[in-house]
């Protein structure tokens, strides 16, 4: 009897289980799909992100130029008989050349609109050209000068010519002129070297990232010079020498917390201590480097400690066994073996420092600075801050340049991280 009852109940259980199986499997599939979807969200976002970035920014690496037939007339360049090539009125040459291109335009307002086709920096081009080749004086030659930002945007298809005239930055007449220049083959698209050789500017077609790159460079030098030795020394002490007491515990907790303190708070520290208290000038790469060094210190300490931990104890014991002191064990044996791991950590710390923006805003590195810095105490900006500044500018052309600057920044980060990965692979040891 008992066996039969048991058999019946198992059969009942079995039935109940089988009845629920379809529902449970459907749930299982659903859960699986949710997981897939979640993973896809991140990756799809990454795709959209890079697509929008590159589609917006790639065009900033080229620039539209207008080729003009310039007459380097002595009347303008040497009004008193003696040529003053540094401060001559080159803009007049550009104007004359444009007016010669369109002799039908005589009205003053229209002529002013016409000159707005080329960049305000066109004159500098001519100055450079004549400085290179002084024989040009009195001659006539075709020179390509940068077009204004609006023309550049039009050529890249970022301005809709079918919009109502009042809403677009270019008038009907300007469109007509530019089309006729294009028909004559005077419009050229060249690599935008200015982006890499110029400092910041209010004119988008002149604005470049050289100053920002240099500022970031000086800052990172200060950062690595401070945070790497300090971080490695701290890691050595904590791993190899620190007694297991409350002080060591405090340092440990403290480092972990410091790694999670918002970066803007480090900026407040830099403002209060380095600028107001010690009196280092504002906007200097030195202050930025100091703040970023404190910011990356925990990252480097944590990575260095992991690297030291991965050196097997047998090596320490062997060295101690042949009579090395503890300091000799560390500096002769452990440190050389842990160094690749520490350097990997340092590179990752540096790539974080390179992308950091918020603390730099606090210490005044957001100023509009045209001249690239030539030292650690010159006012400067950094690449991410330049991105922030340009992102705020309403001109369409600046949005394009912001994307280009972001591409450059990401390229640097990519190179740094690749270097870290290669180093890790290359020096990774299995003990």
């Amino acid at each position: 009897m008992k066996a039969r009852a048991a058999e019946l109940s198992t059969r009942g259980t079995r039935k109940a289980v089988e009845a629920g199986l379809g529902r449970r499997h459907r749930k299982e599939t659903l859960f699986h799909m949710f997981g897939l979807l979640a993973t896809a969200v991140g990756i799809v976002f990454l795709g959209i992100f890079f697509f929008s970035l590159i589609s917006k920014g790639a065009s900033a690496f080229t620039q539209t130029f207008i080729e003009l037939e310039i007459e380097f007339s002595e009347e303008v360049l040497a009004p008193g008989g003696e040529p003053d090539l540094q401060y001559a009125d080159y803009d007049a040459l550009v104007r004359d050349a444009l007016w010669r291109e369109f002799p039908a335009v005589t009205d003053r307002r229209e002529r002013r609109e016409l000159t707005r086709l080329v960049s305000a920096a066109a004159g500098y081009r001519l100055r450079d050209a004549i400085a290179e080749n002084p024989d040009l004086l009195g001659a006539r030659q075709r020179v390509s000068v940068p077009a204004s930002a609006d023309i550049d945007m039009l050529a890249k298809g970022n301005i809709d010519r079918n919009q109502a005239a009042a809403q677009r930055p270019l008038s009907d007449r300007q469109l007509h002129w530019i089309d006729s220049l294009a028909e004559r083959g005077r419009l050229q698209t060249k690599f935008n070297a200015a982006l890499f050789t110029n400092g910041d500017s209010r004119e988008p077609e002149l604005a470049g990232i050289q100053g920002a790159l240099l500022g970031s460079f000086y800052m990172l030098i200060v950062t690595i010079a401070l945070s790497f030795p300090l971080g490695v020394a701290a890691a050595i002490y904590l791993e190899e020498f620190a007694p297991k007491n409350r002080w060591a515990d405090l340092i440990e907790v403290n480092i972990n917390n410091l790694a999670a303190v918002p970066s803007i708070v480090f900026g407040l520290l830099g403002l209060a201590v380095f600028i107001n208290w010690i009196g280092i000038p504002r906007s200097a790469p030195l202050v930025g480097g100091l703040v970023l060094a404190l910011l990356t210190l925990p990252v480097i300490i944590i990575a260095s400690r992991a690297a030291i931990k991965s050196v097997p104890p047998s090596i320490r014991e062997a060295a101690l066994g042949v009579g090395a002191s503890r300091m000799q064990v560390v500096f002769h044996h452990v440190l050389p073996l842990a160094l690749p791991g520490m350097l990997t950590g340092a590179i990752i710390g540096m790539s974080r420092a390179l992308g950091e923006t918020a603390p730099l805003l606090m210490i005044g590195m957001v100023a509009f600075i045209v001249d690239p810095p030539s030292g650690f105490t010159d006012p400067a900006t950094a690449l991410p801050v330049q991105i922030f500044l340009w992102a705020d500018s309403p001109e369409r052309a600046f949005a394009e340049r912001t994307s280009a600057a972001i591409i450059v920044l990401l390229a640097f980060l990519l190179v740094m991280n690749l270097a870290a990965i290669i180093m890790r692979k290359r020096f990774a040891r299995q003990w």
């Binding site: 699986h32 993973t39 300090l230 403290n254 410091l258 999670a260 303190v261 210190l297 790539s351 923006t357």
Partner: protein
């Protein structure tokens, strides 16, 4: 002498000290062949001399350089005519700036301004004298250090132990830099915040509902009374953080589950690094994306279904911030899930549960503390995030819970209060430090609790 040349000379001196010390030790032992009579390896005698040559002198130089500007300023001020010495501190600062510029040749003093010229001349004089004094003092200190230690050296001298003690001291100093940084943060923020609370009562700051930090610069100015009720900032921060968590927690958690339980090895080896790229993108880039791509997209989508969406809506900033935090949540959840013992998972599967049932009923409850600790860390990250909200959230302090409206956050206000030139002593700039204090305390609390929970939880299964 310039500080850099001075440092180079000092380094050269200590290199010389190294060789002198080494040779002296070998001589004391009776020649290079008999160096086994020495207590330590010959190089340690050299290091010993070099350390005593270099470190005290370098210490003096850095101390001198950090104090020098103040001393010179005080000397210059004391030499000024009485009328100018009676100026207010702010005006005096301005004057000193002029003096410095004239002394550096960056600006020319007007011919009539003899006092300025005189001050600039004395400024130059003092700087030159100070640099000369510094050079003499530090080189003297280095020489004394070198000579005294050289005379110490004998065959029995325990040089290695001395050198190692010095190294250990350096290591200890390096490891306390992290602690000093924390103390520095606390002190600098606290100090300025206390000055702020002397002007604005703490209760008004913490419970006031109105935030408009424009203070009157002139006494007769109208309309800029300045009110510092920070509640709208707190709610704004909370709103954006909540939105970010609504995005990042489900997505991050499900990603971790999928990659740990369902995906093949190949998918995982591709998807994981891709997601880690998200964590490596600088926040200013996210900010740009939020402001120029996400916000207009959300606005258009809202308009399409008839919703009024502000162009700097909390939603855009929150969603992008959430995406930024996905890798953090997913990697911390991954750690927590992987820490659950294999036996629990196998037991549940062996009883016939499906993988999702194992996950939901067994593994997740077991991993919950670790996951919650991770979420706390993510919240702290979201609260302290600056660039995304500076670029994509608004400036107006609206007290609202509507994600389609513009709100402002604590970090945004810190940035707007401190960017640009202004007097450092006004309540407006000090308010930034008060907000910084709140931010620091809040994130510190979340971090301490979060890290503690994560660590306790990990130990539980070990």
């Amino acid at each position: 002498m310039q500080p850099t040349t001075l440092a180079l000379v000092l380094i050269a001196l200590s290199v010389m000290g190294f060789y002198l010390g080494r040779n002296r030790a070998l001589a004391a032992a009776g020649g290079p062949r008999r160096n086994l009579r020495l207590h330590s390896l010959p190089d340690y005698y050299g290091y010993y001399v070099a350390i005593w040559c270099l470190l005290p002198a370098l210490g003096l130089v850095s101390l001198w350089i950090s104090i020098e500007p103040r001393v010179i300023e005080a000397l210059v001020v004391s030499g000024l005519p009485d009328a100018q010495r009676a100026l207010s501190p702010g005006q005096l600062d301005l004057l000193l700036n002029n003096v410095r510029n004239v002394a550096a040749g960056a600006a020319a003093a007007g011919d009539s301004d003899t006092a300025l010229k005189h001050a600039a001349a004395s400024f130059q004089e003092y700087s030159r004298a100070s640099r000369q004094l510094l050079a003499v003092a530090s080189l003297g200190l280095a020489t004394i250090g070198g000579v005294v230690t050289l005379r110490h050296i004998s065959a029995d001298f325990r040089a290695r132990n001395r050198v190692e003690d010095a190294f250990l001291a350096l290591l200890i100093i390096a490891s306390s830099v992290a602690v000093i940084t924390t103390v520095g943060i606390v002190l600098s923020v606290l100090f300025e915040a206390i000055r702020f609370f002397r002007e604005i009562p703490l209760t008004e700051f913490l419970f006031g509902l109105n935030w408009s930090p424009q203070t009157a610069i002139r006494a007769d100015q109208v309309g800029s009374s300045g009110s510092f009720g920070a509640v709208p900032l707190f709610t704004g921060t909370l709103l954006i953080t909540t939105i970010a968590m609504f995005v990042s927690v489900p997505v991050g958690l499900m990603t971790a589950i999928y990659l740990a339980e369902y995906s093949t090895r190949r998918v995982r080896s591709v998807a994981k690094p891709l997601l880690e790229i998200l964590a490596g993108i600088p926040t200013v880039v996210y900010g740009f994306f939020a402001a120029l791509t996400m916000a207009p997209a959300i606005r258009r989508a809202g308009e399409a279904i008839g919703l009024e969406v502000a162009s700097e809506s909390a939603l855009a900033a929150g969603v992008v911030m959430g995406i930024m935090i996905i890798p953090l949540v997913s990697s911390l959840s991954d750690d927590a899930i992987n820490a659950v013992p294999r036996a629990m998972r196998d037991g549940a599967l062996g009883l016939g549960s499906t993988r999702s049932e194992t996950m939901i009923r067994v593994i997740l409850p077991a991993a919950l503390p670790g996951i919650i600790g991770g979420i706390l860390l993510a919240v702290s990250r979201a609260i302290g995030e600056t660039m995304i909200v500076v670029m994509a959230a608004g400036l107006a302090a609206n007290l609202t819970a509507n994600p389609f409206e513009a709100v402002t956050t604590v970090t945004v206000q810190i940035v707007t209060l401190l960017v640009g030139d202004q007097e450092f002593d006004s309540a407006k700039t000090l308010a930034a430090f008060a907000l910084g204090l709140v931010l620091f305390v809040a994130t510190l609390g979340l971090n301490v609790v979060g890290l503690q929970v994560v660590r306790k939880y990990r130990e539980q299964y070990e």
